[in-house]
Amino acid sequence: MRVPWIAATFFLARSALAVFADEAWNVDYHYALLGLPKQSTSFFHQPNPSSRASLIYTLSEEGVLGAVNPRDGSVVWRQLLLSEALAYNVSFLRAGEGQDTVISGIGSQVAAWSAADGRQAWILDTAGPLQDVEILELSDGRETAGAKDAIALSGGEHPAVVRIDGTSGAIKWQYQWDGVDQPYQVSASTTEVFAILLHKTLLGYVKLKVVSLDPVTGRKTDEHVVSSENELASAETIVSVGANSASPIVAWTNSAHSVLKVNILGTKEISSFNIEAHDSHAVERVEIHAPYHTNSLSHFLVHYETATSHWADVFHIDLKNSKIEKAYSLPKMTGKGAFSTGTSDANVFFTRVTRDQVMTVSSASHGVLGRWAVAGFGVAAGPGESVEPVHAVSEVSIKGTSVSAVRSAVLLSTGDWVLLRDGSPVWNRPEVLASTVSATFAIPAEVQEFVQQLEAEAHGNPISAYIHRVTRHLQDLQKLPAIMASLPQRIVQGFLGTSADGGIASDSFGFHQIIACATRDGRLVALDAGNPDKVLWNQQVADLQLGQTWQPSVSSPEGGIIEINSKASAGVRYNASTGEQLFSILPIDETAGEVALPVKYAIHKGELDATVDTKMAWHFTPMSGERIVSLVPRPVNDPVASIGKVLGDRRVLYKYLDPNLALLVTANDVTKAATFYVLNTISGAILYSNVHSGVDLGSPISSMLSENWFAYSFTAEASANSPKGHQLVAGELFESLVANDRGPLSASANYSSMQTGTEPFTLAQTYQIPEPISHMAVTRTRQGITSRQLLAVLADSSAIVGIPYGVIDPRRPVSRDPTKDEQMEGLVRYSPVLDFDPKWYLNHQREIVGIKDVVTSPALLESTSLVFAYGLDVFGTRLSPSFSFDVLGKDFNKFQMLATVAALAVATFVVAPLVARKQVNARWQFA
């Protein structure tokens, strides 16, 4: 029974488009991103305790845990721990010294991951949200074998400290307390576990309460309050609770950041230090950097930051009498700086990264062990923007007593994560792109300028146009030497078949479009689709406060210009090639567009309202108990080459083409039903609707509408006699189902949605697909002649598949073989199971994670559509759904062609005397 389907699938797979082995990895590009790393969850660690090679681990703001190779910046492995990124999530990442696992804590889950390959070792769900996770490094010799245990502090209704077995993930003991004290952090020395709780006083201040626990039994051994009555207004001024150092500390400042107080956990004394103001600016931020190893010297560095400068003090802890002394200061420098700690045996080194130098000092004395100038970080930044280091982690190599090399992974203010070896950048990862919320394609400004010049020549008066042209050519002549110089290289490249490459200016195929990405933290980043290895420009366009969000939408209203719209601003435009802000063009001159689109519609309070000139045009209220899930209109720029479909016998089925179509999805949470409507957005008429019951509304419901067809997918619940799983429905609208007949429209020359209510004839077909589709898009080409591909984002496979339209064509004949005419059209027998052939995977072997949206744009070549997917990862490629019929692809073998010509030439020279002799003989010899 299943054999014919499989056969059909194989047939389709062969006829359909695929990723070619020689184009994969060249045509497509992919940034495997993690998101902005956090200082507290980033570190160098050796995945294999026996080898010295280390990786950089981080748990980013996007909730992605990953390991990065410090040599080239490639991702070794990563795990998405949060399905939805929270901008300021609380997460923890720890690695015990000499351990082959890293332990993450996010939400309520503590998990251990194999440091070398990223596989899970164990996972544990704590009762409440996690407040802290630490590794227990006991020095009593009982912990030598096996993995080191972890301790976790969870909040919620029943806050608790839990000791977790490092091998199995089982709970060894649990300490819960009564009362209203809020858990804050947990810390461990070699002999004790400290839980730091916040105790609210009557006046609204908080007090720090330290509870000491026995690490073996989990029993409370001591409890005391360290801060005085009204010192701390809130927990925000608590600077740090060091952990795993020989003597963990807790430090806090007063709200004016003028006094620093430090307590060594386990003691009651508090050391107090005045923070000296170095200039007129107030200290805004105080941070503590301490080594995370129990056998390191108990030194720590306090980093002070004002609006314009930063400096640091280094303190030593005297373990014998529990005294803290200030050892030395690192001088003030303008701009921001990042400090990081590195250890070598017991020695501690502090590395300071500023905007122009990297410097390493020992914690013991202020002598500079190494200083390297930073010429630049090698990242793109906005005009006038100074690139500042935000935070850094570093690894110090020691030879004898001197520092031989320092590797620092620095997060810059531009959102790039850069590795500096000594002072020179080795790689950079544009992690800012991981928070892209909106993206668009735009034509480069140079190309647009050229178009405008040609237009000026075409429409001006002949004499001035001629002068304009001559001056333009004279200007072009200046580029001649450069062209001549690059000519040999271009010829060689032409032979090697890389004609699609080249700069933006020499882009004859339209592959070099600019992709502008607006990110969640208010930056606008531009990439070149034809040369995506490098960020073109990157600048701050919105000044967002901490925790503030914006919903920008980026668009390209005309060539060479990128426009950002958000709730706050009406629309700011930027030059697509340089990122320069354009003040001259105001976005008010869009009156022409408004006449063309008189009906505006929007989802308002769960209903769909359409207005004409502020008057209500129509109103769509979902049925009672239903809510609107999504609304997908037909794309504005959706060219259609043919108004009909040519059948095998040369007759025509007319497509129902209306620019004002939208696909609306509503869901009923009680009956588990999803309803899909195709609406005319001018008249509000429902052209087609379909209800599916037993739909899993927690799974993604994706939908798409283009030309005269639509597609949607959902997950269906099983019943005894129906299949369970994910379904894809494709529908196509026709004016009539009779060939060569336009139905009621044939009589009318003009047509208006307002007057005539012609309804389409709709064919729809359902397919069973192997996994849910989280988002859909469609390829776009310049004229719409090329057949379309449905692009489906598969979250479970971390892939995007391009499904050829012929495979989901609702006109596939059901339960009979196709007739000869249908075969001519390329229709194959309908089979309910649609397998995604791996050759349809646009990403082939790459794994693209967290894709939220896919944008497409036509290239200048009719055959080609540019695709750009964003979300967490950034992925782009070029697609030719009907093969590259207008450009010589890589399959065109230039050497073979030349060889053939040469062989023919040789053959001609060899055969010519033979033929001549034969002709002469024919004249003289008579048979």
Binding site: K672, G698, N893
Partner: protein, 235 residues
């Protein structure tokens, strides 16, 4: 990806004794001799009734552990970058009484078929079930281009015909020379009588066609066939 959905968590919390499902991938040469080469993004998904959804990543020992699965009927799918795995149906059903544990059963299932159409039984257990799933195929992402292939080139009918005719042209005179005189005479006789190659044959006429003469309007210079054109022009 790894977090269970909230509803699932609530469901789990309500159930006193939840079932534990362990799925392992055994070494299955020649397709997958070493399952530890599977990338860490390999994960298993249990899709239950609406809202119940579990997703777990691969463990160090190439297993997937669902620690507590609520009572329902599930579709189990394994997703890996390089391999296909068959989908399974997993049923967790109520225990007969309070003291007993739930029953877990697993069968192969077929997409596009009704849910009750079950395939081979993979196993059943009380409160706990360990399954082994072998990959069903390797994902082939790349399409090789049909490059230049000399054997395929020679095999094509056009080239075969050309080769045969080349053999005829170059080989025939040699053959003729080596023939004994009687056979040769017989052969020549045969050729003369043949309509195609004889002196009055079509091929000869075309070969001896005097284009210049025909253009000049000369009538019966050579063959009768050639004069046909000229004659018609004269008429």
């Amino acid at each position: 990806m790894l977090s269970l959905s909230h509803l699932a968590l609530l469901l789990c919390a309500n159930l006193a004794s939840a079932a534990r499902l362990t799925v392992s991938i055994p070494p299955s040469p020649p397709l997958l001799p070493n399952p530890s080469t599977l990338p860490p993004s390999t994960h298993a998904v249990l899709v239950g009734p609406p809202g119940v959804h579990y997703d777990v990543p691969i463990r160090r020992d190439s297993t997937f552990v669902f620690p507590d699965v609520a009572e329902a009927s599930y579709l189990l799918t394994l997703h890996s970058r390089d391999y296909f795995f068959p989908p399974l149906r997993v049923d967790v059903s109520k225990a007969a009484d309070e003291s007993q544990q739930q029953t877990i059963q697993a069968w192969q299932t077929f997409r596009g078929n009704e849910w009750d159409n079950k395939g081979p039984h993979y196993g059943s257990g009380k409160g706990e079930l360990q399954l082994q799933i072998q990959p069903s195929g390797h994902k082939e992402f790349y399409q090789e281009r049909g490059g230049f292939n000399i054997i395929g080139f020679v095999k094509s009918p056009m080239i075969l015909m050309a080769l045969v005719s080349a053999v005829m042209i170059f080989g025939m005179p040699y053959l003729m020379d080596n023939m004994d005189p009687e056979t040769k005479a017989e052969f020549e006789e045969m050729q003369k009588s043949s309509p195609l190659t004889g002196s009055g044959g079509a091929a000869n006429q075309i070969q001896n066609f005097d284009l210049a003469g025909w253009m000049a309007g000369k009538g019966t210079s050579s063959g009768s066939g050639a004069s046909g054109g000229g004659n018609s022009k004269k008429r």
